[in-house]
């Protein structure tokens, strides 16, 4: 959420997704969040996602997937958000398309922040 907010403040087009027991969204007060049950077994979700991963790629649009490990606490979330912003900006600032520069961007990021990133390229 922190990263989401930060990115949004910086003008990125951002969407967030998550898994958990339920989804909490801000409510009338801090103690009354809107809670939505997922009601979907994790296994089912996993299967479905795997199906998405394996299905034929209809639109043939490239997607870059980057994994940045962030520990689940406030400090790390804030730090992670800044890192994410940094990374996103680096990708935006690099050459005309990320495909050309992703190796350099990732390497520079890793060298700068001493954090390992994983990335993959897929199609949808």
């Amino acid at each position: 959420m922190e990263a989401h907010a930060l990115l949004k403040r910086n003008g990125f087009d951002v969407c967030s997704y998550g898994t958990g027991a339920h989804v909490k969204l801000p409510g009338p007060s801090i103690r009354e969040p809107n809670i939505y049950e997922f009601g979907t077994p994790y296994k089912h979700m996993f299967e479905e996602l795997r199906h998405l991963h394996n299905r034929d790629h209809v639109l043939l649009k490239t997607v870059l997937v980057i994994n940045l490990e962030v520990k689940d606490n406030h400090e790390e979330a804030a730090a992670g958000a800044r890192l994410t912003l940094d990374l996103c900006q680096a990708i935006e600032d690099a050459a005309e398309s990320w495909e050309e520069s992703i190796d350099e961007v990732i390497a520079a990021f890793e060298a700068k922040h001493r954090r390992k990133l994983l990335y993959s390229i897929s199609f949808y």
Partner: protein, 1321 residues
């Protein structure tokens, strides 16, 4: 119609409007219209779309691509115009557009493929337009493939890789294996297995082997990962893993490649093994999740690899999940089996499962086995010979124990068709008894259901029946194995019939989907592939009884095994497996007698580690198993190992079944009888004979000849012709490009070409050779390459020789061959360019041939990006050919067609420019050379001398050595050639200029100054067209005019003249020209064309300069001035012109008086313009001027000469001159007197007005005046008015006598002159 017009308007706006936002919105609206109207209507608008590809705006091109992507799917039939655009956009400078172009292309590629398959399926043919589209798609494929290799942006490359993946998936038979249940979720993509082995356009064999080759390409990437960026490697790993999951046939090779791949290298940029490792990890985990048997077999290796990647936990978890799934599946299948045991219908799936499981078993064992055993085992586990003894013993045990191998696939719910199949099977199983019911059943089946049954059974048809060359490795085939074993091959004579008689069950084995074992052993040799088995065509082959005919053509060689396999099957399982066996009548009755006792023993065998089983063991097991009491009579037991394995097995099984049928003689089985009947007249199996090289070659040649001969005889069975082609291709690849054979083929090809078969054959052979070249790439490619080259050229030549120039075969051949070799290009070049000599050595240039060649060049440029440059060179070379007609054709091609192509237009410009420059520079070195060069060829020798002479003028004669002379000579000749091509060159150049590239105009002006006469003339000839095309407002032109390079004055004049010829020159142009005149170019000629647009105040200052021009230019200038413009009228009236001319002062304006006089004369010459009224008006004006113009009196004299009727007017003028004291101006005074003396007697009165001293001097000068003047003055009417002093001068003051007679004559002469004047006016 309205929508059409609207769309046209929108598209035009999209092209021409200045604002990008408006362009885009217009385009968007146009797109909506295009998508909403009828496709054929939309197609009319495509030409407008096509133009947009050249738009400089990325967004416009991107939008264009979107439109093409959508509309081409909708209006596929009409989109042949759009596909080239798509191809062109692949090379777009913007990587995003290039990327999207690949994506759109992939979609379209799949759609075209699908459409082709469907069309053929539904209508039995493929429409012409679709075939053409497919040709484009082939080009698309080539482009995208090359994109994957060439250096370039990574974005498009990723998509190109994706296309490689798609390509492999499309053209690798989809075995519909277990994992497909997971995949899906989108519409089903085309798959090569749809074609079912034949298609008129798509050759399944070729594409399947091409898919394998493509896989090799992908795998090769992993071998040299260092040069690749991480993102590419990750994509490649992802692609490979997807392929392996979806097409298990490739799984093994991909897995090995991935396992061998070491992600811990440093990439070129020194980073990122982690992400690559992760991609590998994902791939391996993905494999683990698959329930495909092939993949499950390799589980240990996967686990090991995953542990090495620190993913052991994840791997274990996945394994547990999968195991649980499998176990659940098994349980449910067992339940289903028990529940349905009675109705015997569920056996089929169980058995098929069982087989597919077993087929995958040999994976590991194969690797451990030694060579001999390998070949043996391959034989045994090969899907096409499934039912070996081990197999069916195993099958027994499994079936007997009721444990299914893998029930994950078992679907408890059988479809109606499957139920029906099972029922039919059961009925068949009952033999005679069931036959009647079967007949009734079949006659009652609804046609739809019957069709379903047939289709369901067709699933078991072999999907891979052809050899798939495996990349990078030589096939280890059974044939090889048998060749290496000692040559004591003993072939029992019964094989062929035996096999046919037992054929019914053969499809059990051949239905095997290609799986790992296939991958291990392919290419299966031709013996293994039943379709290629020559015995198949054996006329002695007997057709089995009706029920078996369905599958009779599938398994031939191996069917006998199946015969025995069913024996054992049924022995342990009282109900046979009819459902699996389709409609076969199985030899059930006698097999019942086979004992069950061997089953436990077999269980034991089957549970043994198969790797440790030797051939002997297997054989023994099976012996004891199936025919315990049978004493077979193989010739020599000790020799058995030496037998070719396959033959041995054939022999063994055949005999076994034979003996069985004999012993248990089941009368009910008709097939047994058949066996016996045919047994007697069987031919012997050919012996294996070792041939030396020469014999081999001879055999091959004979084989080729025979195949070719067979073409004529056999009917056009497509399958057969496909096979013939494949055979020929391979045979040709083996021969040493023997001349005889090539000739023979050539002959055949040309004969057959009309029916297109020849073409297909040539392509087939060439593609095969090409694939060999590709495979041999790291070995010695020269051999296959040499044959390829030779064959291609030979084929092309024979096409040229055999067909008229109008034939398209040659062009088509070059367009479709896999690779254009240098010699083929050379051939093409010769066709277009070089002189052709007939057998007598005479030159026979056939212009039609040139057209043909150039046509081919054009289509190659369009269709073969790799050879584009070479072809362009040919075209350009022809464009400067010395022969007019060749040149004209080539120029038309280059200028009208090729120059339109954005990707080569630059090359053409460069060529044209460099040719122009070199021609100009070469020639301008010596003007005399250029003159001598225009000498005709026949004057060659003279020319040479001239060249020597002119050369010596440049270089001093005394110092010129012999080599120098030679150099000059060669220069001369080279230059002579250039001068011949020059006119053409200018043609060429100017046509180019006309096309959107007027920036070259500057160049023309630049070189004009130093260009020789011929070039100048050519320029003069062409520039009017060009200039008119460009229009006067073309800014570049104005810029050139305002600052012209040196030496181009003449050209400049010409240009200005052209610009002003038909239209009123623009203000810009006038200003520019004036500016030029004022600054750089002082020659007033340049002003002439614009004079008509100048005002009086502008003309007058430059008037002296105009007068200073050569007389004809001056006349032109006068004409322009007097002509004036439509708006303002003439700048000067004729009278004003005259006044202006007289206003010029030789001293002040620096003009010689002669020039001014000439100008006057020029005016007088134009009597229709400078009439007597004009003269009078001008003179009237001038006479009042102070000072009087120098030439005034001269002009008066001329005026009276030209128009005598002006005499009275002239007298007035003269009087005025007297009033202005003309005697004070000496030059005028002389003229005045001359005029007076010429106009007597009219001038008497003027004379008398002179003051006495002047009169005196005049009379002194013209003494003859005195008498007549005195006589005139004596007249009474005159005398009174004449001053006394004047009379005194005349000597009349004292003596006042009159001489009437004199007056009389004067009067008469006066009337005469008046009459003459009247006549003149």
């Amino acid at each position: 119609m309205a929508s059409r017009d609207q769309a046209v308007a929108l598209l035009c706006a999209a092209r021409t409007h200045g604002d990008v936002a408006i362009k885009l919105s217009s385009l968007r609206q146009a797109k909506d219209i295009l998508l909403s109207v009828d496709p054929s209507l939309a197609a009319e608008l495509f030409p407008y779309l096509v133009d947009l590809q050249y738009s400089p705006h990325n967004l416009v091109r991107k939008m264009l691509l979107e439109i093409i992507g959508e509309i081409s799917m909708k209006a596929m039939e009409h989109c042949h115009l759009l596909v080239p655009v798509l191809l062109a956009l692949l090379r777009d400078s913007d990587p995003i557009i290039a990327r999207d172009a690949v994506a759109s292309g992939i979609h379209f590629y799949c759609a075209v493929l699908e459409e082709m398959a469907l069309q053929f399926h539904q209508r039995g043919k493929v429409e012409r337009w679709l075939e053409e589209l497919w040709l484009w798609m082939l080009k698309f494929k080539d482009s995208v493939f090359s994109m994957a290799f060439e250096a370039g942006s990574i974005g498009p490359k990723l998509l190109a890789l994706k296309f490689l993946e798609t390509y492999i998936l499309l053209f690798t038979a989809d075995t519909n294996d277990s994992d497909n249940s997971v995949v899906g979720g989108s519409r089903r993509l085309f798959n090569i297995s749809w074609l079912g082995g034949y298609h008129p356009v798509l050759d399944p064999v070729f594409f399947m082997s091409d898919a394998n080759r493509t896989l090799g390409i992908l795998l090769d990437f992993l071998r040299s990962p260092r040069s690749l960026p991480g993102s590419l490697i990750i994509s490649i790993v992802n692609c490979l893993s997807a392929i392996a999951r979806k097409r298990p046939i490739h799984y093994d090779i991909i897995l090995s490649a991935l396992l061998d791949f070491d992600p811990n290298f440093e990439t070129a940029k020194g980073v990122l093994p982690v992400s690559i490792q992760y991609s590998l990890r994902t791939a391996f985990l993905g494999f683990l999740r698959c329930t495909s048997h092939t993949i499950i077999e390799s589980r240990d290796r996967l686990l090991m690899a995953l542990r090495a990647l620190n993913a052991g936990d994840a791997a274990d978890q996945v394994v547990r999940q999968v195991d649980r799934m499998i176990k659940n599946g098994e349980r449910s299948s067992r339940e289903s089996r028990f529940s349905t045991r009675d109705d015997q219908q569920s056996n089929q799936p169980v058995i098929s499962m069982d087989q597919s499981r077993k087929r995958s078993m040999p994976l590991d064992t194969d690797e451990q086995a030694n060579g001999h055993v390998v070949s043996l085992k391959r034989t045994r586990y090969d899907p096409s010979s499934m039912a070996t003894h081990t197999d069916h013993s195993e099958k027994d045990s499994i079936l007997g124990n009721g444990t299914a191998a893998n029930a994950s696939l078992v679907d408890g719910d059988l479809t109606p068709a499957e139920q029906m199949i099972a029922m039919i099977g059961a009925l068949l199983g009952e033999g005679e008894r069931g036959a009647e019911s079967l007949e009734i059943l079949i006659s009652n089946i609804h046609p739809d259901l019957l069709a379903d049954i047939v289709i369901t059974n067709m699933k078991h048809l072999p999907t891979t029946f052809l050899s798939l060359p495996k990349v990078g490795s030589l096939p280890i085939s059974r044939q090889l194995g048998s060749q290496t074993s000692p040559a004591h091959v003993i072939a029992p004579p019964i094989i062929p019939t035996q096999s046919t008689s037992l054929a019914p069950s053969s499809h059990v084995s051949t239905s095997a989907q290609p799986d790992t074992s296939n991958a291990n052993t392919f290419p299966t040799d031709s013996k293994r592939d039943p379709r290629r088995d020559p015995r198949r065509l054996d006329p002695r082959r007997t057709m089995p009884p009706a029920p078996t005919s369905i599958v009779d053509d599938i398994g031939v060689v191996e069917s006998e095994f199946d015969g025995s396999s069913t024996l054992s099957k049924s022995s342990s399982f009282s109900v046979p497996t009819p459902a699996e066996n389709d409609l076969d009548a199985l030899p059930l009755n006698y097999t019942v007698n086979v004992k069950e006792e061997p089953t436990p023993e077999l269980d034991q065998v089957s549970t043994k580690d198969e790797g440790s089983c030797t051939a002997e063991e297997l054989v023994h097991t099976s012996e004891s198993d199936i025919v315990p009491e049978h004493s077979y009579s193989l010739p020599d037991e000790d020799n058995r190992d030496a037998l070719a394995v396959s033959d041995f097995e054939v022999a063994y099984d055949a005999e076994t079944s034979f003996v069985e049928s004999d012993e248990y003689s089941s009368p009910a089985d008709s097939k047994e009888c058949l066996t016996e009947e045919t047994f007697g007249d069987l031919a012997e199996l050919p012996l294996y004979v070792e041939l030396d090289e020469a014999q081999q070659r001879n055999e091959r040649n004979t084989a080729i000849e025979r195949i070719i001969e067979s073409y004529g005889k056999l009917s056009d069975a497509d399958c057969g012709s496909q096979m013939r082609m494949a055979l020929l291709a391979r045979l040709v690849a083996q021969i040493d490009a023997d001349d005889d054979v090539v000739e023979l083929l050539q002959k055949h090809i040309t004969v057959d070409y009309r029916q297109q078969k020849g073409h297909e054959l040539v392509l087939h052979i060439l593609y095969h050779l090409h694939s060999l070249i590709a495979v041999d790439a790291n070995g010695n490619p020269s051999y296959a390459a040499a044959i390829y080259e030779k064959f291609l050229v030979a084929a092309a030549k024979s096409l040229l020789d055999a067909f008229p120039a109008s034939d398209k075969s040659f062009c088509r051949l070059l367009g479709e061959v896999p690779l254009l070799s240098t010699s083929a290009l050379k051939l093409l070049e010769n066709l277009c360019y070089c002189d052709v000599f007939d057998s007598h050595g005479n030159e026979v240039r056939d212009v039609e041939r040139v057209t043909q060649g150039l046509g081919a060049v054009w289509s190659l440029i369009l269709g073969r990006p790799k050879d584009r440059q070479a072809c362009l060179d040919i075209a350009l070379k022809c464009a400067v050919h010395s022969q007019d007609d060749v040149r004209a054709k080539a120029i038309r091609l280059v200028a009208n067609k090729l120059y339109q192509l954005s990707y080569i237009s630059e090359n053409i410009e460069q060529f044209a420019t460099s040719m122009l420059l070199s021609a100009v520079d070469q020639q301008s070195s010596d003007v005399e050379l250029s003159q001598s060069a225009s000498v005709e060829q026949r004057e060659g020798e003279v020319g040479t001398q001239e060249a020597l002479i002119s050369g010596s003028q440049v270089q001093s004669v005394s110092t010129m050595s012999l080599p120098e002379a030679q150099r000059l000579l060669s220069l001369f000749f080279a230059f002579k050639l250039a001068s011949v091509v020059l006119v053409m060159l200018m043609n060429f150049f100017f046509v180019l200029l006309l096309f959107q590239k007027p920036s070259l105009l500057q160049l023309v002006f630049d070189v004009y100054g130093r260009a020789p006469k011929a070039v100048k003339q050519a320029v003069h000839r062409h520039i009017p067209i060009l200039i008119r095309a460009l229009g006067p407002s073309y800014s570049k032109l104005l810029q050139i005019i305002s600052d012209p390079p040196e030496g181009c004055e003449n050209l400049l004049m010409l240009v200005v003249q052209i610009l002003t010829q038909e239209t009123t020159p623009s203000a810009d142009l006038i200003a520019t020209v004036k500016h030029l005149y004022e600054t750089k170019l002082k020659d007033a000629t340049i002003l002439i064309p614009i004079l008509s647009s100048l005002s009086k105040s502008e003309v007058l200052p430059i008037f002296p300069r105009l007068v200073g021009l050569p007389i004809e230019k001056f006349q032109m200038a006068i004409a322009h001035i007097l002509q004036g413009s439509a708006h303002t009228g003439p700048a000067l009236s004729p009278a004003e012109v005259l006044v202006a001319i007289h206003g010029i002062s030789p001293d002040k304006d620096g003009l010689p008086l002669k020039k001014i006089m000439d100008a006057c004369s020029a005016c007088f010459e134009q009597r229709t313009v400078f009439t007597q009224q004009v003269l009078a008006k001008a003179l009237n004006q001038m006479v009042d001027q102070t000072p009087l113009p120098l030439l005034f009196v001269r002009t008066v004299i001329q005026a009276i000469d030209a128009f005598p009727s002006l005499v009275d007017f002239v007298m007035e003028i003269l009087s005025k001159l007297v009033g202005r004291e003309v005697w004070k101006m000496p030059k005028l005074w002389v003229g005045f007197l001359k005029c007076v003396s010429q106009t007597l007697p009219h001038s008497f009165s003027v004379l008398l007005q002179l003051p006495p001293p002047q009169l005196e001097s005049a009379l002194n000068k013209y003494a003859n005046l005195r008498g007549p003047l005195a006589a005139y003055a004596c007249q009474p009417s005159i005398k009174g008015s004449v001053h006394r002093s004047t009379l005194a001068v005349l000597g009349l003051s004292d003596e006042m006598h009159i001489q009437p007679s004199h007056v009389q004559t004067l009067q008469s002469s006066n009337t005469a002159s008046t009459q003459a004047a009247a006549n003149l006016t």
